[in-house]
Amino acid sequence: MSYTVNFSATQALGILSQITLTDISTGTPPTLTTRKVTVAMADGTLLADAEDWPLADTTKAFDILSRSVAVNITVQWMNGTTVVDQKTILYCFDLYDYIFAYSLTQQQTSAPTLVNDTVYWMNKAQFMVNLKDAENAVTYGGDIYSAQNSLNLNYNMIQNSDKYF
């Protein structure tokens, strides 16, 4: 049975800075020695540059995030220095933004009238729309640039939260 390479990547609430890759390849593998992982942002910035992912590890965590990003993750299955096969998948890791929005909600529980502030509410709504825009750009558009642009708008709001919220 031929070998079909594949992987999945997840970000967990517990450790927002980590993404965990899982090898979900199927079939009979050819001779392999290791895997290499590259994580690239829309502007070409490499969060991981050919990082080693040993064959013995079905899953591996990469501690590379500091904010919400849309990235292309490329995994190469190697035999020595030869790339036997590779796969690239676009992901949107946006839990940083959800946690920030959640912190706003928690503030509201102790100060319910906060939502009556028009500026506060419009900015929070815009924040969530940006999140959905980023997710949709990845899910339906395969568009890393639009996704990252939306996340960048949110990053600005987070960095200047005292002005926006």
Partner: protein, 176 residues
């Protein structure tokens, strides 16, 4: 108070109820509630749903969900909609086998290439009689002229070939 999961389900319906009433208020010139209410519900629900999907037991999640519940529009009605299993149903219509096909007029072109076999699921199970133009001008019956098969009939009269005759009329008799 409802659980986080229940509140999220109720919030989805409440958002719809709020959107509906905002629309009705605009249509009839009688505002029922502030237009911002549906979007508020949507925003908070998205946040709590994302956290819940990541960790059902995330710190402070129930309190945040309770806050969402407190801001819902018509939560009791929304809860009744979510939990109501008697909202009515549409019984599927079972299509009936068409019965208005008789008398069925066929030719050799409708039969199998052997000139004696006719397959049609709509005639299976019916009592049939067959009239063949230019054959003997009589209604012909099973088992002497033809026999029933699981998919139609096969003409067993010796030497018969439908290609040598005109129309073949199949009629039902004494069948419900």
């Amino acid at each position: 108070m409802p659980t986080v999961s229940e509140i999220l389900d109720i919030a989805a319906v409440s958002q719809y109820l709020a959107s509906n009433d905002v629309a009705k208020g605009s249509l009839f010139g009688n505002p029922r509630l502030r237009p911002i209410v549906p979007s508020r519900i949507w925003v908070e629900k998205q946040i709590i749903q994302a956290i819940y999907d990541g960790d059902h037991n995330y710190d402070g999640l129930q309190e945040a969900a309770d806050y969402l519940y407190a801001m819902l529009y018509h939560p009791a009605q929304a809860s009744a909609i979510v939990n109501n299993s008697n909202g009515g149903s549409i019984s599927p219509i079972t299509p009936s086998i068409p019965t208005g096909i008789y008398p069925l007029v066929i030719t050799a072109a409708d039969m199998e290439i052997d000139g004696v076999t006719y397959n049609n699921p709509n005639i299976v199970g019916d009592n049939l009689m067959v009239f063949v133009q230019q054959y003997n001008e009589e209604w012909l019956y099973a088992p002497d002229f033809f026999q029933y098969t699981g998919s139609g009939i096969v003409i067993v009269a010796a030497g018969f070939d439908a290609n040598n005759y005109g129309n073949i009329i199949i009629q039902k008799f004494n069948s419900p």
